[in-house]
């Protein structure tokens, strides 16, 4: 089938320059989401640090660490965000091990480990992330909050959404985040005596540390391109 395809009509490959030119889009307005963000700002007041609306896509709201639980309760009560989708955390520190493609016999390269937060900003390394959805209007919202660098502890939202229980247990064992008020922070996946927090960026993926990743040869350099980091190891 590969061989019989007409050439020219379908060309899956093109230079990167072609796609970047077409990404310039017109400014869109999303009245529903803008109105929702305005309403949330009124409800939560000073608890809101920053908001972001991507038209036709999603809402991001960052609240203060202290108001993490109460803000979510208020959003559930006042704006009927009653469907708990997920809770997780993000470690914004770039991994000192890169993507695990270093040759273990060579000295480790120096990497940029400056923390840059994502949408709606942030001042800490770890951030909480919760997604709630209104089960009637089906409008979703992503709520973020900073996790203090010194204690790595936030309030538990188990009292607001009972379903957050397991998600917080997962975040606790994977990121080492403490949840004040959680009834039972046992490990879900890992053995009881496991040391370290696997999803933190500074936790090395040991399989990649001891042996070079063979999959790197999958990425072929572009003809004429000068993408040095994609060169396969000799």
């Amino acid at each position: 089938m590969h061989l019989q395809k007409p050439k020219g009509e379908v060309s899956p490959l093109s230079s990167p320059a072609e796609t970047t030119a077409s990404t310039a889009t017109e400014v869109k307005v999303d009245a529903t989401r803008d109105a929702m963000v305005a309403a949330i700002r009124t409800t939560l007041g000073a608890c809101v640090v920053e908001t972001l609306v991507k038209p036709g896509d999603d809402i991001w709201v960052r609240v203060t660490t202290e108001s993490w639980c109460s803000s979510i309760q208020a959003l559930k009560d006042a704006h009927s965000f009653d469907y708990f989708c997920f809770l997780s955390a993000i470690d914004w520190m770039p991994s000192p091990y890169g993507r695990g493609e270093d040759d273990p016999s060579e000295p480790a390269p120096v990497r940029d480990t400056v923390i840059r937060p994502g949408y709606t900003g942030g001042d800490t390394r770890m951030q909480m992330l919760v997604r709630l959805v209104n089960s009637v209007t089906h409008l979703g919202i992503n709520i973020k909050a900073d996790v203090p660098n010194d204690s790595f502890t936030v309030d538990s939202i188990c009292t607001v959404f009972a379903g957050a229980n397991w998600h917080e247990r997962e975040a606790h064992e994977m990121f080492g985040i403490g949840f004040t008020g959680h009834p039972d922070l046992r490990n879900m996946y890992l053995p009881v005596d496991f040391e370290g927090y696997p999803m933190r960026k500074d936790f090395p993926l040991l399989a990649r540390m001891v042996k070079p990743w063979p999959g790197i040869v999958d990425v072929e350099p572009l003809p004429g391109g000068t993408d040095d980091e994609n060169e396969s190891p000799s």
Binding site: M1, V10, D58, M188, Y189
Partner: protein, 398 residues
């Protein structure tokens, strides 16, 4: 976006009242310490009713469960960590293994999230074929559930019918993608390949067979008196509890929430081109959940039939660079997978691979309700309730 639900929780029905009374009785035993010589029952991790390696620890008082807790992690593979050291195109082969009965459906939301960040949209033909394969994996997945349901209650016949008819669907998936269980067929910007010759006619024949299978199961199993008495009024989940625990898919619709991500969100798939019914059930018990899945399999065959009739021509791949670098940003995409809402929160740093991927799998939320749900039920009902919640172990542990 339409407003379809009644936001006020419905009054408790008879069945819900009975279930509520049972759980209250279990609580009372614990609180008043009327508990007699209780025992701890360990189910699994190797048990035929656990579909893999789920272990359930149940504290019993007589025949009644007073406390139960599933113990996960026997199949944790750390996909969220592994995605951070893969390139974007490589991730699909990982996420294929999350829900292994409907693998193609796992790839789609991730690819859509990457496409959203790249501002690329697949050509119409690719979108239609994606939707067809998506529904085929739903049929393959849920038809096995319908057969397996009988086994949990001692009926052996349905599972043979299910394996027989699922094979037709797997053959279709194999002939289109090359993989029976793990297609790895979806690409950023489209699909790996076009459909083979004669595939459309073959699929229509199979869809007819699958509708017959649904009829067969309905008369054989759903009309069965034993099946009904084992599932009706058992494991009732009220609407607000289902929402609180983030139940999704058939489990949520069985509790009366009219919400289907295929219909209720704008997504670059061909669902807006077809006409299908979203079934809901007011009871929220085990029977309702099984019944919804049966109806969904029927609807899925109809969706596939409609899509096959109107499939547009054209390329199956958009213009994307050979080395895919996804621009910086964050994106959330979820789709209505066979097990429920499956979504990916993808954070990209303009690199070859994702910076962070949060995999929101349906079974994790669906099974997190079990400590609440199993309180007060009788031991044989544990098996039927777990079967009706329908989980895949790879989808819980990831």
């Amino acid at each position: 976006m339409t407003i379809l639900n009644d936001p006020v929780p419905a009054k408790l029905g008879n069945r819900q009242q009975l279930s509520y009374i049972a759980s209250q009785a279990a609580d009372a035993r614990l609180n008043v310490e009327l508990e007699t010589e209780g025992m701890t029952l360990n189910i699994g991790p190797q048990h035929p009713a656990t579909h893999g390696t789920l272990r359930i620890i149940a504290r019993l008082d007589g025949e009644q469960v007073v406390w139960a807790e599933p113990s996960c992690g026997y199949m944790h593979r750390g996909y969220e960590k592994l995605t951070e050291v893969r390139t974007f195109p490589q991730v699909t082969s990982l996420v294929n293994r999350i829900d292994w009965l409907g693998s193609f459906a796992n790839e789609v939301p991730f690819i859509l999230a990457a496409e959203k960040l790249m501002n690329v949209e697949a050509p119409p033909r690719a979108q239609w074929i994606r939707t067809i394969l998506f529904e085929l994996s739903r049929i393959a997945n849920v038809s096995l559930f319908l057969g397996d349901l009988g086994v949990q209650m001692g009926a052996i016949t349905p599972v043979f019918l299910a394996f027989r008819d699922r094979e037709y669907v797997l053959n279709l998936i194999e002939s289109a993608t090359g993989g029976r269980f793990h297609p790895n067929f979806d690409r950023i910007g489209g699909l790996k390949d076009d459909l083979p010759a004669g595939w459309i006619d073959e699929t229509k024949v199979v869809m007819k067979k699958l509708r017959n299978f649904c009829d067969e199961i309905e008369t054989l199993l759903f009309g069965n008196e034993i099946f009904q008495s084992r599932t009706r009024g058992i494991g009732v989940i009220p609407r607000d509890v289902a929402l609180q625990y983030g139940l999704s898919g058939a489990n949520l619709r069985a509790s009366g929430v009219d919400w289907d991500l295929r219909r209720d969100q704008t997504i670059p798939l061909a669902y807006d081109k077809v006409d299908f019914k979203v079934w809901t059930h007011p009871d929220g018990d085990s029977f309702a959940r099984c019944w919804i899945r049966l109806q969904e399999t029927r609807e899925a065959t109809k969706i596939v039939d409609q899509l096959l009739d109107g499939i547009p021509s054209g390329p199956v791949m958009a213009k994307v660079p050979k080395i895919i670098k996804v621009p910086e940003g964050e994106a959330w995409v979820s789709t209505e997978n066979p097990l429920g809402e499956m979504g990916y929160y993808v954070v990209s740093r303009g690199d070859l691979g994702p910076f962070r991927v949060k995999i929101r799998s349906a079974s994790f939320n669906n099974i997190s309700i079990t400590p609440w749900l199993l309180r007060g039920v009788y031991v044989p009902d544990i098996i039927t309730i777990l079967a009706s919640l329908y989980f895949i172990l790879g989808d819980i542990d990831r």
